[in-house]
């Protein structure tokens, strides 16, 4: 098969794009398998080194924090629990609230929708004190519930689901009604399968949102057992640097 010049050009562009995306990740990974001396001396590495297990074991499993008990591995798990909890609850709650807003004809549906929508103007950072007060009054500080619960309502996802549900033709609902589907069955048998791709996309966005929370876990958790990796990373980093350069714990 003969390759046309235009095709060749487009392939070259695509390959360059892939390299642009992948190379930095490869560089970071390859570098992370070298010991710190060669990194400091030679900078970023392209080839794999021999310190993979040593480095990764130290990063993931070395106990740190004030209590000398928390590991990065543990923090990863906490982060995943928090992100999974936030993402799944956000998706479920907003899909259901959008369902109520679109399919149940109550008078205040539109004002309620806009009320939900303007909560976008009040992100967690703005309402952090009242949120903290409520969570601590409920005795939920230093729990996963406390980490997850204040973040599970989502105006953005509700908005997206609402717009999507509105594009589903009414006949589908009517036909389902005649086929004996009640409100719950219509939601489960029709809306969820039809919005599968949307559910997945929303889940990914919300997972990243939950994973990258910094301020909330920082304020919420006094117990190191509940540290998440995003906030813990900074603490670990400062600690490691401190240890490296002050192996005897002397104060400079």
């Amino acid at each position: 098969m003969k390759i046309k010049p235009l095709q060749l050009l487009s392939h070259i562009i695509l390959i360059l794009g892939v390299l642009l995306m992948v190379l930095p990740i490869w560089f970071s990974f390859a570098t992370s398998t070298h010991d710190n001396i060669s990194i400091i001396k030679e900078g970023m590495q392209f080839f794999l080194g021999d310190s993979f297990s040593v480095n990764y074991n130290e990063v993931l499993n070395e106990k740190g924090g004030w209590s000398e008990e928390v590991t990065a591995f543990n923090m990863f798990i906490n982060s995943f629990i928090m992100a999974l909890g936030i993402a799944s609850l956000k998706v479920v709650i907003s899909a259901m609230s959008a369902y109520a807003l679109v399919y149940f004809r109550f008078k205040l549906a539109v004002p309620i929708f806009w009320l939900i929508f303007i909560t976008l103007l009040v992100p967690l950072e703005v309402r952090i004190f009242p949120s903290y007060k409520i969570v601590s009054d409920l005795g939920l500080t230093n729990t996963y519930t406390g980490l997850i619960l204040p973040l599970v309502a989502s105006a953005t996802a509700t908005f997206f689901f609402r717009q999507f549900y509105r594009t589903i033709p009414d006949e589908l609902l009517e036909s389902a009604k005649l086929d004996g589907a009640n409100s719950w069955r219509f939601f489960v048998d029709f809306l969820i399968p039809l919005s599968k791709t949307m559910l997945a996309a929303m889940f990914i966005f919300m997972f990243v949102y939950g994973y990258s929370q910094y301020l909330w876990p920082l304020i919420m958790t006094t117990d190191e057992k509940y540290w998440t990796v995003v906030m813990g990373m900074k603490i670990i980093f400062t600690e490691m640097v401190y240890q490296r350069f002050n192996p005897n714990g002397e104060i400079e």
């Binding site: 006949e171 589908l172 009517e174 009604k177 086929d179 029709f190």
Partner: protein
Amino acid sequence: MSFLELQNVTKIYPNGTKAVNETSLNIENGEFVVFVGPSGCGKSTLLRMIAGLEDITSGDISLDGNLINNIDPSERDVAMVFQNYALYPHMTVFNNMAYGLKNRGISKEEINNKVNDVAKLLEIDQLLSRKPSMLSGGQRQRVAMGRAIVRNPKIFLFDEPLSNLDAKLRNQMRLEIKKLQRQMGVTSIFVTHDQTEAMTLGDRIVVINNGVVEQLGTPKDIYSKPNTKFVAEFIGSPQMNLFNCKIENGVATIDNKKINLDKSINIEDACIGVRPDDIQISENGQYSSVANLVEYLGSEMIIYSTIGNQQFSCKLSSKIELKAEENFNFDIIPSTVHVFDNNTGLRV
């Protein structure tokens, strides 16, 4: 008591539009009834009220002896075929047909048998594992029908199901629907704005205009004895010619020429209807006119012309030699004439 009874059924939408006004109908078991009327006349609303998809503002609907006004659509035991088929896009053809049965708690084996039987009947048994997006228009139509048939409901409701098909397929499906309905003997209501569909399908036709039943009758009744001017115009293609005139002592005067109607009536503002195929061309006819336009349709042709200042058309065998801009003579035969009172719109 009839199988389906509508008594003074009225629908007023929240914005005040009166879609259906005091409609009463009786439909017998096994009958094929067609609701026909121009778009926006309330025929679909009436059908949707029978299905339970639309609330009834006032009046009663009863099916098989039970009042169904407030019964949930799923419990009315009606099946509907929608204009755009409303197939479930994420389900295979099999599941589309099986869904209603599953919700009724029928066993898997029985569902399998029923769906396969109906699929064979409709010749869609090869398509059972496909999704609706992989089907052609005609196949989707069949699946939509199959979904209704498989439930074996008391009543089939068809909401303009043929309007999305091309002309050839539409004729074919029309025949099939009629055949299936005969075969299964299930009471059916078919909504359409197409008078040909109405005439060919219906045992009885209900002509609806502005939310009111204008006439209910067999296709033959409706064609040969339209009750109102509206029905006269609506049914028949090309539409009936209507000439405004004055009737004195049973004699109508159109373009200064007299037609003796054989009825001793006096109407100041009357209207005389003549079907295009009832106009008789003859060399010594009393009217003379110029053919403005000739439409050649193969075996027939349609001539558009005017008498006085009133337009009319006539349908002739195309064996007659007549070209545009030529003169022709014709007669209006009193026995084929329909007389309407312009003030009431009713037949006299």
